[in-house]
Structures are given as structure tokens and as C-alpha cells.
Amino acid sequence: MSKPTTSPLPVTSTAIQLALAGQIGNFSLDLEINAPGYGITALFGPSGCGKTTILRCIAGLERLRGTCRVGVETWQDDNNFLPPHKRAIGYVFQEASLFPHMSVRANLLYAIRGKEPTSHEGGVGYDETITLLGLAPLLARSTANLSGGERQRVAIGRALLSQPKLLLMDEPLSALDLDSREEITPFLEALHANMKIPILYVTHDMSEVERLADHVVLMDKGRVVAAGSLEQIQGNISLPLARKRKATIALEARASGHDAEYGLLTVEIDGGHMQVPSQPMPNGTPVRLRIRAADVSIAIGKPAISSILNILPAKILEAEDLGHTERIMVLGVGIKGDGAQLLARITRRSWDKLSLKVGDNIHAQIKSAALAFGR
């Protein structure tokens, strides 16, 4: 395993600083995590690597040695341990864990003792939450006959209404069937776009990370392997993620035009623009593109005749062998290579045939790019 990449994440006044050490099950957990005070930070790693324990420690439901600071508040250090109900967190468990003896409305209002708030200053408003999560039709119902997806939406709403400074989500989709996941993901994306508080999101599913995360903490057996922005982690070819067959990079982009005849959206990325299949969107709408390393090929000079829609000038920034036959490389968009970064995987034979080397200017042919989501 490569040595941990420590990239400076932007620190704001509500940043999360965590240091924990202790024995859990049959391995020891020893880690430091610094997460920014905005956006979704995904704790990503295989099942049983200690991700849930971390959330439980932040919530105060479990106690290991260490410190936990959120913003200006210290929730745990050598001398203090704040009990869970005094920590301003929202916790979404794997199973919705609604109170079965209360209606949906009573569940939602539990944290604010049954009073419907009109709007909270700087916090999350009641009406806003109901709208964001589409809860209005569920309010009067009992929790017993909600679907899995509905239950989880109520649980998320309930957590938000407790006015948390930090939202903790423990694999909120993993207990759901495929249909429920599809149903709830747009709500999570809406949450992502609208939340001002940071979210720590535990998952072992890379597609959730690609759709939702801004920052990633890569974990294995109680240790942090790497941490950084989603692009940094995905685009680091010394990390296992970029070396997988399904290696993908997520690019932040903005809509800048739509070709109605062909159903193609033009989006601006750092250092260029691309066209992707999509419904029309207002100019300036932030979107996220997903481009698989296997879908990016290399041409020297701009190919005059090609069926490929997106061909961008780029520079080879890094390259490494992937086993005996393939090579993975990092490309920087633009002549100088200082734009958005792409991953490309080609055969070693092509690499040699084109006499490629790091620093070369080439054209990246992107065979397919998809919107991870529009927001």
C-alpha cells in the first residue's frame, strides 16, 4: 500500500478534527481525519474497516481514546466526553430507526419537542425540509406502512430538523432495495446541493461516492489510506481506486448551452468544453461528469475524421504500468495541462507504438461521458 496522501483540505471554522485510537473487534483503529466544514465527505472503504465506529465515536455513542472537535466545539479530548444528546449532530442510521409508536410528523418533530418551527435562523427550516425530501404526503401516516425509501427519507428529515452542525450518514442506502435507492438518490443529491452543513457519509459503494462526495477519506482496516478531494483521490494513480477496471473520474462542470436537435448539453470544464447527452438545463447549472479511464483514448494531433464527439487537447502528466499489458495515465486538459484532470487507460503496446512519454501534448478522445447528476 502506498503511503498516505495528505493533501491540505480547506479548513473553515466548522471543520471536523478527529483523532481516534482503540481496539475494535479483532483489529486496532488508529487514525486522524480532518474534514472540511462544507460539502459531503465520504468515508469509503470495505465493510468492517471501522467506518461506522468512527461515526459512532463522533456522535458519542461509542468511546475510543482520542479527540473530536467540530468547529469551535470540543466534543471529546483527554478530559472531556460530551454525551450524545449534547452534541449538535444529525445521525442517519443504516436502517431508518423511526420511532414505531409515533406518526411521521411526531418523528420529524421529536428533536424540537413537537413544535413546528416557522424558520430557524441559519438552521434548517421545517417547510424547507418537508419540500426538499418530499415528505408532505407522508406526514399524517404511521411509520408502520412506509416503504424502505420513505422511511429513510423521514429519518433524514428528522436528523436535519434537529438543527445539526454536522450530519452523519451511515450507509443510508445499503439496507434498501434497488428501486428504493433509485427513489431516494435524487433526494440525497438535492440535499447535497442545498445543505450548508458538512456531511460525513459512510459507504462501501463507489458509485455513491462518485455521485455525492466532494471529499473522500479512503480507509482500510482502521487506518486512513488517503484523504483529499474526490478528483485528487480518483486521479491519484498510486492509489487502488485508479487502478481498478472501473476506474472513473468525476469532473465538476457547468452547463453552457443545449443542442435540442441532438439532445446534447454543452458543459464547461476547467480548460475546455464537452458535449454530453442530457435534458436542457439553464446556463451555469453545476453538473458533475463521470468519465471512465477505459473510455479515454489517445491521439497524436487532432484527428480530422472521427465519430468521437469530445476530443480535447491535453498533456500527459503521469503514467504507470497496470500489470503487463496496460498503462494508466493522468492527463491534464489544455496545451499546458493545467486544466481538469482525466484518467486514461491504454495498452502498453499503444503507448510504445505512439512513443508516448510524460510531458507529451496529445489529444484525449473521450468516447463517452455521462452526467453523474445535474444540480
Binding site: 444528546h85 420511532f99 421529536y110 408502520a144 434537529s162
Partner: protein, 228 residues
């Protein structure tokens, strides 16, 4: 047709008073015991649990014998009675209440403990993450979710107190209006060959028991259907 004599009426009211008072006290002291037994992680809690369960297996006469010593003039009960100028708690209504509470304790603690355990950690943790203090979590989540256990516990405690005989005879004797409850009254009527009165009480208690169990079952069934 036999009319219910004042003698029987007095036994009925006394019995109901005893059972009601005992049940109320049992719920008050049984709930924290059950909560502690359900939640504590110390290994020796099972020793306390066993102590609570002892009346289930001990012959009522054994329990009655020790209670008699404890409540008598030379025991703590006698000292306690001295606070209001009495000499002993044995053969008094108060003594009977104390004996009933101890004798029926496991019938109340066990179902409540089971109900608390059945809730699991998760709803309590969820409440804590929603800023509920431990007390609010207990009253707003644990108590309502353990409703079936409280129903069962209260009914068993009440019914068992009404049905107790051996302990009553040992520590209460047979004083009309003070300690002569229905179960003792039946015995008394049989001893004195007043079969019809014995029959009346016995039959009444059969119907009572039937009604209580049926009602409890139906209420529980309804709660289960409404999501509990």
C-alpha cells in the same frame, strides 16, 4: 341464590385494596429494577436478577417464615412499626402489602425487563442523537415502547397478589377486615363447612381470572396491530 354477605364483601374490598396498592408499588419499584437489569452491563446484575426471581421457586411458606421474622417485633419491620407506636408489622395490612410486593416482584419485573430488552439499543440511540436527555429518552421512547410489558406485569402482579395464599396465611393470618383476603376466606369457609359461600368466591375468582387474561390478550393483540 346466595347473597353476598358483608363478610364476603369485606374480603373482596380488602383483596382489591391489597392488590391495587401492591401493583402500584410494584410498578414504581419494579420499573427501575427492570430497567437496570435490562441495561446494565455488570456481570453481577444476574445475581440481583436471581434474587428478584427467587419467589418464583421458593415455597410460599419459606418466604412467609422469613417475612414473619423480618416483620415481627424483633425484625426491621418491628422497628419500622415502632415509628408510629405499633409493635409489629406481622398480622397487619401493611405487613401484607410488604409481603405481597416481595412475593409478586418477579411477576412484574420479568415482563417489563423483557420488554425493555426487546426495544434494543437503536431507538434509544436515535433519541439521543436527536438531543433527547436520558430522562426524556426513557419517558418518551422506552416507556411507551415497553407498554406490552407493563400491561403484562401489572396484570400478573395484580392477579398473583389476589391469588396468593401461603404467604398471607403465614404473615397475615385471618383477621377480618385487616388481613382476611379472598383466598384465605375460601379456606376458612371450607374449614367451617360453609361450602356455598366458598363456592361463590371460588367461581367468582375463576370468572375474574378468565376475564383478566382474555382482556389482556385482546389489548396486546390490538397494540401489536397498531404497530407496537
Amino acid at each position: 341464590m346466595i347473597s353476598v354477605s358483608p363478610e364476603i364483601w369485606s374480603a373482596i374490598t380488602l383483596t382489591l385494596q391489597l392488590a391495587t396498592l401492591t401493583t402500584v408499588i410494584l410498578l414504581l419499584i419494579g420499573t427501575p429494577i427492570a430497567w437496570w437489569l435490562a441495561r446494565s452491563k455488570t456481570w453481577w446484575k444476574e445475581a440481583i436478577g436471581t434474587l428478584v426471581a427467587l419467589p418464583l421457586v421458593l415455597p410460599p411458606t419459606v418466604l412467609g417464615f422469613y417475612l414473619l421474622l423480618a416483620l415481627g417485633p424483633d425484625g426491621p419491620g418491628g422497628w419500622f412499626a415502632g415509628l408510629w407506636g405499633a409493635r409489629t408489622l406481622a398480622f397487619t395490612f401493611e405487613g401484607l402489602v410488604i409481603g405481597s410486593v416481595i412475593y409478586s416482584l418477579p411477576f412484574v419485573v420479568q415482563p417489563i425487563r423483557n420488554s425493555f430488552e426487546a426495544i434494543g439499543e437503536r431507538p434509544l440511540e436515535a433519541a439521543a442523537t436527536l438531543r433527547a436527555s436520558p430522562w426524556r429518552t426513557f419517558t418518551s421512547i422506552a416507556l411507551p415502547l415497553a407498554r406490552p410489558g407493563f400491561l403484562t406485569g401489572a396484570v400478573l402482579g395484580f392477579a398473583h397478589t389476589i391469588g396468593e395464599f401461603g404467604v398471607v396465611l403465614m404473615i397475615g393470618g385471618n383477621i377480618p377486615g385487616e388481613t382476611k383476603v379472598l383466598s384465605v376466606a375460601i379456606f376458612d369457609f371450607v374449614e367451617t363447612l360453609r361450602w356455598q359461600e366458598a363456592n361463590l368466591i371460588a367461581a367468582g375468582m375463576v370468572f375474574f381470572a378468565f376475564g383478566v387474561i382474555l382482556t389482556t390478550t385482546l389489548i396486546e393483540k390490538r397494540w401489536r396491530r397498531s404497530g407496537l
